[in-house]
């Protein structure tokens, strides 16, 4: 029997049982809609999170911290030679060490403001590591060789929300109060004042990453070393040429130090892990959605078994006039396949439709808090999830629908094909 004829007969038989065909197809539509909807929405969400993380982290930057999270963070600090060794690794563009001095206050005679961290940096190197972060509202980077200049972060300069008058502008003289730990005559801390000239003030930047310059002030490293009388530093920032190499370079840096002496924050690894987690969540959601398609498959098996029972006599007639068992099998499988094809096609379209509706709704719901903490950007943008159309998923989901329908249609179709013609003709 010609395939086109089998198709035509299957279609004819289905169109005579419109409601049944509609409901069976609907169950497939629901399954595929759920799979495609969740897949495209999930991918959109994953890409949005990834993009946000990429803008938050400088992916080609590594942060080297003394000590290990596993073995307890160390009080040890880095020396100049550590930085030199790191700089020599191939693929490293620049390595720069910083000293971090916590809880400092700045005063201009009229007003006092606090900074989260005063970071002592080698400006020339530091700007190479964070080239995009130094957008000045006023002033510019300190001139090389000047030891008495300071760069002020936005939230230090404007500590209150919606403030319009800055604490300082370029060329202002300010007093920086640092807490000094003295061991003699007994361990205690003392406050010391130092006068700095404001080289520049930074624009509002914000970042979802781990360093938010809005809350920092920057002073020259040499001066800090002089004040604290030390050659040690707290952190090393490393910029690599190729971000894909960042993990290999991190391993090489790790090899330079004894085990558990340092921790390296590799944004790429972090992003990959988050990406993996999101992929797993996405697959998990799709797996749940797939269950609905399996339920649809069981529905198809049920309906088709009923259909075979109803059409026993018809099958008997067809066999009596010469239809082979495999022709009967193909006829019933074709009906199952047609349900899969229709359900799959409609489901794919509805799935993408659903993902756009959900994306619109969810984008409104996922409105980030406007808190101004050191780790959360006060300027976090509204989350906009754009569903992603994937040809691969479309094909896979469509094929899944057809295959599920054929598999679940196999039992009733075989039942029909195996019918004894004499018994079938006698069936009332």
């Amino acid at each position: 029997m010609r395939l086109t004829k089998i198709l035509a007969m299957a279609w004819e038989s289905m169109s005579q049982r419109k409601l049944r065909t509609f409901l069976t197809t609907l169950s497939v539509v629901v399954g595929i809609t759920a799979i495609i909807g969740l897949a495209s929405l999930g991918e959109g969400f994953r890409l949005e999170v990834r993009e946000r993380m990429q803008t938050g982290f400088e992916l080609d930057n590594l942060t080297v911290i003394p000590g290990s999270f596993f073995a307890g963070l160390s009080r040890e600090r880095f020396m100049d030679e550590d930085v030199e060794k790191i700089s020599e690794i191939s693929g490293v563009k620049v390595a720069t060490q910083v000293m971090q001095i916590g809880n400092v206050t700045l005063s201009n005679g009229n007003r006092t403001v606090r900074a989260f961290v005063a970071t002592a940096v080698n400006f020339t190197e530091f700007v190479q590591v964070f080239p995009d972060r130094f957008d000045f509202e006023d002033g510019k980077l300190p001139e090389e060789g000047r030891n008495d200049t300071i760069v002020i972060g936005y939230k230090v300069n404007y500590p209150k929300e919606n403030e319009t008058t800055p604490f300082a502008v370029a060329d202002d003289n300010i007093t920086l109060t640092l807490r000094m730990v003295e061991k003699e005559p007994f361990p205690h801390s003392e406050l010391q004042n130092y006068t700095y000239v404001v080289a520049g003030t930074l624009q509002k930047r914000g970042t979802p990453g781990i360093t938010n310059f809005d809350y920092w002030v920057f002073i020259p490293l040499e001066k800090a070393r002089e004040i604290y009388d030390t050659q040690e530093s707290d952190l090393i920032f490393v910029k690599v040429f190729d971000l894909e190499e960042s993990e290999t370079i991190a391993e090489e840096i790790e090899d330079l130090f004894p085990p558990f002496k340092i921790t390296i924050l590799v944004p790429l690894t972090f992003i990959r892990q988050v990406d993996n987690i999101l992929t797993i969540v996405q697959l998990f959601l799709m797996a749940i959605a797939s269950i609905s398609l399996l339920v649809a498959g069981i529905g198809i098996m049920n309906i088709m078994t009923v259909s075979v029972m109803e059409r026993i006599r018809e099958i008997g007639i067809l066999k009596a006039i010469g239809a082979k068992s495999r022709t009967i099998l193909t006829m019933f499988l074709t009906e199952a396949m047609l349900i899969g094809v229709m359900g799959g096609l409609i489901g794919v379209f509805m799935g993408y439709g659903l993902s756009y509706v959900l994306a619109y709704g969810l984008s409104g719901l996922v409105q980030p808090d406007q808190q101004g903490t050191g780790f959360q950007s006060p300027e976090t943008q509204r989350m906009t999830i754009s569903p992603v159309f994937s040809m691969e998923w479309t094909i896979v989901a469509f094929a899944f629908a057809v295959i599920v329908c054929i598999i679940f249609g196999l039992y009733p179709a075989r039942k029909a094909a195996k019918l004894d013609p004499v018994e079938a003709l006698r069936y009332e």
Binding site: M1, K5, E314, A320, A323
Partner: protein, 233 residues
């Protein structure tokens, strides 16, 4: 005369629970080309069983049926289906038309199964519906046709593959006397004009009277064979 089917020592039993009920107990006869053979007998004599076996719809417990000198029951199910499709035509007591198809589509169905092009099969189906006098009922579904008309459609369907033999199981059994008589006339006409071989299982005296030969079955055995007067040997 050419023998087209040879039935040899055919046996068939049915199991009713633990009891084995013999339906046929060694039946032998030949079917000659172009003859109208009726199989006559009371209910339970094994008529329909014999017809089903001759039509390759069932398999016997013993004996053989030779078509073209080979035992059909040595063939697989698909090959039996092929024999049904190419060499046999069936007419049933309850017409057995597909209710969702029109008369025309019902008639062309065997050709559709055989993979003949739609154009050709429709042309042939139209010719046959004209032959059985239903040229103006082609587009009607079985539910829109009378019993006699449905049986004519079934007759046309049985003939569409140019079968060597048409097997009819009580073709008038579900029709009133007048309509039954019309069907008998149609069978006679096709037999005489087209030299179509018929094997008809019947209770109907009219068909038996028109037959070249009548095999009387009783309790699964041939009781007697009655040949029409003047039948050519």
């Amino acid at each position: 005369m050419v023998t087209i089917v040879e039935v040899r020592e055919l046996e068939k039993n049915y199991r009713m629970g633990k009891i084995l009920v013999p339906a046929l107990r060694g039946v032998s006869f030949d079917v000659e080309e172009g003859e109208l053979l009726t199989i006559f007998g009371p209910s339970g004599s094994g008529k329909s069983t014999l017809l089903h076996l001759m039509g390759c719809l069932d398999r016997p417990d013993g004996g053989e049926i030779l078509v073209d000198d080979s035992d059909v029951f040595k063939l697989g199910d698909d090959e039996l289906a092929e024999i049904r499709l190419t060499k046999m035509g069936f007419v049933f007591q309850f017409f057995n038309l597909l209710p969702r198809l029109t008369a025309l589509r019902n008639v062309e169905l065997p050709l559709t199964i055989a993979g003949v092009s739609e154009k050709e099969s429709l042309k042939r189906a139209e010719e046959l519906l004209e032959l059985v006098g239903l040229e103006d009922r082609m587009g009607h579904r079985p539910s829109e046709l009378s019993g006699g008309e449905q049986q004519r459609v079934a007759m046309a369907r049985a003939l569409i593959n140019d079968p060597e033999i048409v097997l009819a199981d009580e073709p008038t059994g579900n029709l009133d006397t007048k309509t039954g008589w019309e069907i008998v006339q149609l069978v006679k006409k096709l037999n005489r004009e087209k030299r179509q071989t018929f094997v008809v299982v019947t209770h109907d005296e009219h068909i038996a009277e028109a037959a070249d030969r009548t095999i009387h079955l009783k309790d699964g055995l041939i009781d007697r064979v009655k040949e029409a007067v003047g039948r050519k040997q």
